[in-house]
Symmetry: C4
Subunit: 286 residues, 4 copies
């Protein structure tokens, strides 16, 4: 695996991404949660407290990030999404209601895609260039929808450290993939609920996992993608973890901090149109 040629001759790229799911994280798992204000309030925290505090932290740290926002959140938390944009961050597509659509229901996939685009456009004037599927539950059809809509990048898969380019079975080139991984997500370590008893881990535990993964990806010259949720990382002590982690990455020389759009574009630019050997991921997909 050859290192990517990052801008500024950087040794590695770091992108901080936030899935601003708010209440959709809970409604999408079980619509009945609409009648459960206790469960729902975990998502509300992300909108009320999490996003403002994350924005404050990013401003103080001088970092630009990417927020993936479901259409429903753009409609119901419009002011928060406007603040995100006003602070200079990127807003990407994250479905409409954060649904894990059955891949046998392409019409529902289409609806989530279109309603999400519509809400972002009409509410906050954004035409997103990037997409992240909820919890990585995507489908061949969704990837086709992204190609047809000209998305620059997708950030839903876990099959690489470096970006690569999608290609459809019919040969059409698609978006750049910016891979993630569960171990670089905040939710598995702290997003517990009465139905999903995920153990709650310490900052030291999470820091060790993120820091060791960063150290090695740095050494490989790859892309480090951190996936966070304002309702999780926005808790007081978890913001302190994020600050500590950012400080750690700054002890490494030559790191390029960028948002997802910049990473995808830089990767495309570096490769050059002729160099790009697109990869058909999971050719066994039916």
């Amino acid at each position: 695996m050859e290192p990517v040629q990052w801008p500024h001759a950087a040794q590695c790229a770091v992108q901080f991404t936030f899935d601003f799911d708010a209440e959709t994280n809970w409604i999408s798992r079980d619509p009945k949660n609409l009648k459960h204000p206790g469960t729902l309030s975990q998502g509300t925290y992300g909108a009320k407290v999490g996003v403002p505090k994350v924005l404050e932290l990013l401003r103080e740290e001088g970092l630009k990030a990417t927020f993936f926002v479901p259409g429903w959140v753009a409609e119901h938390r419009t002011e928060r999404v406007e603040q995100i944009l006003a602070a200079g961050h990127e807003v990407g597509h994250h479905g409409y209601l954060h649904k894990w659509v059955d891949p046998d229901c392409p019409e529902e996939e289409l609806e989530e895609m279109e309603r999400g685009l519509e809400a972002l456009q009409s509410k906050v004037g954004v035409r997103p260039v990037g997409y992240r599927s909820p919890a990585g539950e995507t489908s061949p059809n969704i990837i086709r929808l992204l190609v047809e809509r000209g998305f620059l990048y997708d950030s839903s898969l876990m099959d690489d450290i470096n970006p690569y380019r999608h290609v459809l079975p019919d040969g059409r080139c698609g978006p750049v993939e910016l891979p993630w991984h569960w171990s670089l997500d905040d939710a598995p370590f702290m997003l517990s609920s009465i139905k999903v008893h995920r153990p709650i881990f310490t900052n030291d535990h999470i820091f060790e996992i993120w820091a060791e993964e960063f150290r090695e990806i740095y050494r490989w010259g790859g892309l480090f993608t951190l996936v966070m949720h304002p309702q999780a990382i926005g808790r007081p002590s978890r913001l302190a973890l994020l600050r500590r982690f950012i400080a750690y990455t700054r002890t490494f020389p030559n790191v390029w901090y960028a948002n997802a759009q910049e990473v995808a574009q830089a990767w495309l630019d570096q490769k050059g149109p002729g160099d790009v050997a697109p990869q058909a991921i999971s050719p066994f997909l039916v």
Copy 2:
């Protein structure tokens, strides 16, 4: 987020709360547990050993706390609730049988509310001013019931660090909300059973999570709510954890230790009737 103006110009408020569920914690999940003395005995421990040892600790530490007590526990563990009251602690409402009522059954919600009130009144002479729903599983109807019964505060939601005031869709003002969070609860770290395999964590693990959250909430000037269960925190080593944690908070100057009623009242007093901008939580609730 502006810091709250706490009494005595304190930097932050700390409330120690105990959900004295005893056997109801197990009966409410599965009534068949009434025929399982092994499972049930975990709750019995809270009544037999946990509460007396917690009361001893609070007396030695000179702290006043709030105990949320299901009506069934007031009926079957009357002496223990009397001891709690005799020691000067507050007793709040915690349902009748610790049920997670289906929000589509308002008549059952009403019954849990009324039977709980009745039991506390008739058995230990308490008219509670505060309510905490079992495991945060509340509903819009329950919040309405609280408003109509003039409760001073609710402590069931997770959408903030600071207190705020509820308001009904029709504009009626409701109780002050005193938020909590799973990471500041003892159960996720130690309350395991043969059916719910929650991993059991060390005191160091739990201390780190509570201490880091406390440090940051202190810095923000917010409210720190610890949610404990005598059947969990009442184990010998867990009481040692609680002592250690209390000692840690005492290394911070200017902390206001109060029970839930005092916190809610202080927050109301500070705001003044005219200042209070009540928040309609989760306006999407149906």
Copy 3:
């Protein structure tokens, strides 16, 4: 809670107990496991390797322990149970097939009790004086069966630190209860399977939990019951944990190491027939 008056004016009592479930741990959960040698082999390890290595450790440490043995194991692993007895350890009743019997099937409870007694008697000549229910899943009827069969003690419940005496609703006195707790069991920390994904914890993690609980129970003057399984604690590194833990307890002066029968008898002797105030546990049991 007053400290128990232990023999030799000891400050606390320690009993090491082993549930020698072998394959029954897996067959009882799902009889289909009889066709799954992979799953079953975890239990076989307890018989092939675990018990001999545990016996070796106990001999080297000069400790006498109690092994609770299902009747099925006495029948199929007779030689191992004979070795346990030959080494001077106590053998207690642990059901016949380690079943969690539905409390609505008293005839099945009776059968587990009788077949267990019969197997222990006919195979290894033991009439046990103690009983531990599988995974603490007992019932009022089982406790009644123990009373009627004159068992000296039961070790199935979690509602105390100290021993106490059972009494039936009709006033008949029953066995002494020797309580245990999940946090002092090895299984929750290491007994994982493909169906039950219990996380696997480090020796340091388990040592901290056991050691802090021991330190406090010692201070209280209570009974410390460790519950282990040869198929779990018998792994090479886990035996090292047990040795380390034993060494830790030996840094405390005045600890009384005893098997369960000795503990129960000492508690009865200390109380004197007149002193014993038997407790009706869980009077809400139906």
Copy 4:
């Protein structure tokens, strides 16, 4: 338990084994995952990145390992399996689609066995001498199939530290068993998914568990079997864990590093045809 007489008078044997499941790990659990590229991409990582990086590490460390490869993977990831073979590693049988076959469907078991053999033969020219069942879910019939096909060894069970020899109920001698254990597998510590919420542990946590188990097995003179998955151990930080662990084992004198075939053969040679007392495992199997 007497120590094994390892070649070169070694104190213990160490085998590094890799289950190269790729996408079959996810398809076998739920065929619908064929329509879930997000879930599937976790397995793809093993093929795209994991295996090449593992091969690089093994080359740099000068170690020969065993890769258990499902037939499906040999068909769809042929080039990767060829690279494994070209680097001098052993390839073993791992079923066809990594299925956990119902032991009541012997014809399906036969099909998995035969299709796996066929794929390995036709795609990469391998006639494997060893077999490992997916997740240890094997059956008496599968063990019979191994005997009839003359397999040298099986590595699916957990009932010992040392190798032993299988024997069928009818007295026929079977393969040598090379036992493993969940605590010496990478998956329980890091292979999480949206449906199976396994907590993700730190390198320190995993290192401690592996290192303590190694230290004791070394002392016992047994066989240390590490079970890894390229999609798990192949993550950047996890490869660093593996390097750290290898370095740790090298601080012990007199360790024999071998692949599974060499271990099985050495154990047979050491015993001599006359010495071998084959064991009927789990004689209760139906």
